[in-house]
Every structure is written in C-alpha cells, then in structure tokens.
C-alpha cells in the first residue's frame, strides 16, 4: 500500500471565511481555482454534517467528506468552529483514516499554538500567513509525512 499524497490544506473560520490555503506541491499552483472550489464544496458537506440533528458522534474528526475524481477530502472541526480540510490523493484509493486523523490533530495543535500568540491579530487571514511558527511547523509536518 502506498501512502496517500497530500494535495492541499484549507482552513476556514467560524463564518466559513477562508483563513489559509496551502497547496502542498509547488508544481500544482496553477490548480488554485479548482482547489478553492473543492474547499467550498467541502464546507457545504461539513455544515451538513455538523448541523445534522441525528448525528450522535461529537468527534472533532469528521472523516471522509467525499471523493472528487481522484482527490479525497477529510475534515477536522474544532470547538471554536474552525474547519481544517485536508485533501489527499491515493493511487489505489486506500487511505488509513487513523493516520489522517493524527495528522489533522497535529495541524490543529500548531494552529492553536499560533493563534495563542498575543501579538497576532484576531483570527483573520493575515494571522496564519504571517505566523513564522505556523509555516515552519506545517512544513515540518508535511516533510515528516512524506518521509515515513
């Protein structure tokens, strides 16, 4: 089994405003519009999931949202209503969900670390873009993922 390749990470705030978008492979920068579209699509699915009255689980990890062609999207929904959308591409369509869960939890942790900075602004698109800690930690997570 081959480990899935990370495609992009999108972070949306409590009002579904996009706070951060990281396209993992620099060669795919030209697919920005498509990935933004996928992010918006995932937000709709997330809102349906969390507003479902019959949903019994309170887990922050929402699991697989959907598959668009060859890209699968997973979501993590924090207590402060910040949504973390991670898109992966698996050649054989087999993904270990526990690994995705762990990775999203680590991303959530470094996000919390970054927004706790008293010198950063309120949670705006600028906050994470200007955070050196967040960028370096995220790139470290990504390279660790690619190695193991």
């Amino acid at each position: 089994m081959v480990k899935p390749r990370l495609v992009f990470l999108s972070i949306a705030g409590p009002k579904d405003e996009q706070l951060y978008l990281e396209i993992i492979d620099p060669k795919e920068k030209h697919l920005l519009a498509r990935y933004q579209y996928l992010g918006e699509l995932s937000l709709d699915v997330i809102n349906d999931l969390v507003n479902d009255g019959e949903r019994t689980s309170n887990d922050c990890f929402l699991g697989l949202l959907g598959v668009e062609e060859d890209i699968s999207t997973y979501a993590f929904y924090s207590n402060t209503k910040v949504k973390f959308i991670l898109a992966v591409k698996a050649p054989d369509y087999v993904v270990k969900e526990t690994e995705i869960r762990q990775l999203l939890r680590r991303i959530y942790t470094i996000h919390t670390h970054a927004v706790c900075n008293p010198f950063s602004m309120d949670l705006t698109p600028e906050t994470l873009k200007t955070s050196i800690y967040f960028k370096e930690s995220l790139h470290q997570l990504i390279s660790d993922w690619n190695i193991h």
């Binding site: 670390h113 970054a114 706790c116 900075n117 008293p118 010198f119 950063s120 309120d122 955070s131 050196i132 800690y133």
Partner: protein
C-alpha cells in the same frame, strides 16, 4: 476586540458593585494557604490571562522599553507576595541572608513553584561582581508568544524578571532584574534573567565575610 474587552471589564465591575447578594463561594482570602495538592494553575488558563495582559499593556505603551517596564511592574507585585508564600509552604523553612543562598533558593524552590522544574543554570557575571544570571532554556512564559519583527528586542519574560526583582527586594536584597534573549541553536527561546544587585547588598556581603 479591544472595545469588547473594555465593555466586559466595565460591566463585570459594575455588576459586582451593584450586587448585594453574599458571595456563594469562598473568597480567595479564606482558602487554606497550605493547600498544595491539585493546586497547579492550568497552562491554558495562564497563557490566556498572560496574553490578555500583554495585549492590554501593548495598547497603553508606545515603546519597547516602556512595555518591558510595565511587564516588570506587574511581575514585581507578584514577586513581593511570593516570599512569604513560598517560604511558608516549605517543609523546613530557612531564612536566607547570603546572596548565593537566596539565588540558589530562587533557582530551585521558586522556579519549582512557578514552573514545576528548576531553572537551567545560575551564573555569576565575570565582568561585574554585582551581577548574577539565571538561565532558562525554554521559558514557559514565552511558549505561545512570537514577537513581531518590528519589536524583536522585546522579551515577555520581563514579567518573570519582575517576579524575581520583587522577590529579592522583599527578601532585603534590593536589585534590578531584566530579561534578555540569548538564543542557542538548540534553544531558540533561551532567556537570561540578569540580576544587578544594589551596592548596599554587596557591602553587607563583604561585612558578613
């Protein structure tokens, strides 16, 4: 955010002033001073309060030096009260009268009380005989703080320096304490608390022999 904070602050104060109902719970002053077990402050709670303190000071000052002075002042008030509290909770309390003794006490007992571990090292300055340094490789105060580029001279451990200064002043070792970033490749947040003792303390030390 600022206006919201101020409104909340005003409303809570006025509400408590208007209220005539007796307090349901115990006041802080009625709590048992000897209660040590399970009395650690949660790191998240402290990080939040400290963050609000920094944001409040930032909105009041216009320079880095003034910023550090205000942080130092807030820490000073904590340090003044810490002398009696930490000594009282010791199993075998001892009254320190020598410079090295009180600094080792801060290095071990006070740091243990504040952060749950000892400070990383205690050093004496080579150039000046009245300067000592307490080093912390990963200060807990700076754990969630990234200082922006335009104020990279600022070290929020000035609050900790204020605690030490207040502690030493109350213990009859008047001094000036300041926090300095001395990063190493392994410890990017390494902080040195520089303690400059008053000449009267040095003179007393010489008399004591």
């Amino acid at each position: 955010m600022q206006s919201t904070n101020k409104e909340l602050f005003r409303s809570s104060v006025s509400e408590s002033l208007k209220s005539t109902a007796p307090l349901m719970g115990k006041s802080v002053y009625e709590q048992n001073l000897n209660k040590i077990r399970n009395s650690d402050v949660n790191l998240s709670s402290f990080a939040f309060i400290f963050s609000e303190l920094i944001q409040r000071i930032q909105s009041q000052v216009s320079g880095i030096q003034e910023f550090e002075e205000k942080l130092n002042e807030h820490g000073y008030r904590v340090g003044q009260k810490l002398v009696e509290l930490v000594v009282w909770r010791e199993r075998n309390p001892k009254r320190e009268t020598r410079i090295l003794g009180i600094l080792q006490y801060i290095h071990s007992s006070v740091w243990k009380y504040l952060f749950g571990k000892h400070a990383d090292s205690l050093e004496k300055s080579k150039e000046a005989s009245d300067e000592y340094m307490i080093v912390d490789n990963n200060p807990l105060l700076n754990k969630f703080i990234s200082v922006p580029k335009e104020m990279n001279q600022l070290n929020c451990c000035a609050y900790l320096a204020g605690i030490i200064e207040g502690f030493l002043d109350s213990a009859q070792f008047p001094c000036k304490a300041s926090a300095h970033s001395v990063p190493l490749s392994q410890y990017p947040y390494r902080t040195v608390i520089l303690i400059k003792l008053d000449p009267s303390v040095i003179a007393r030390e010489e008399v004591l022999g």
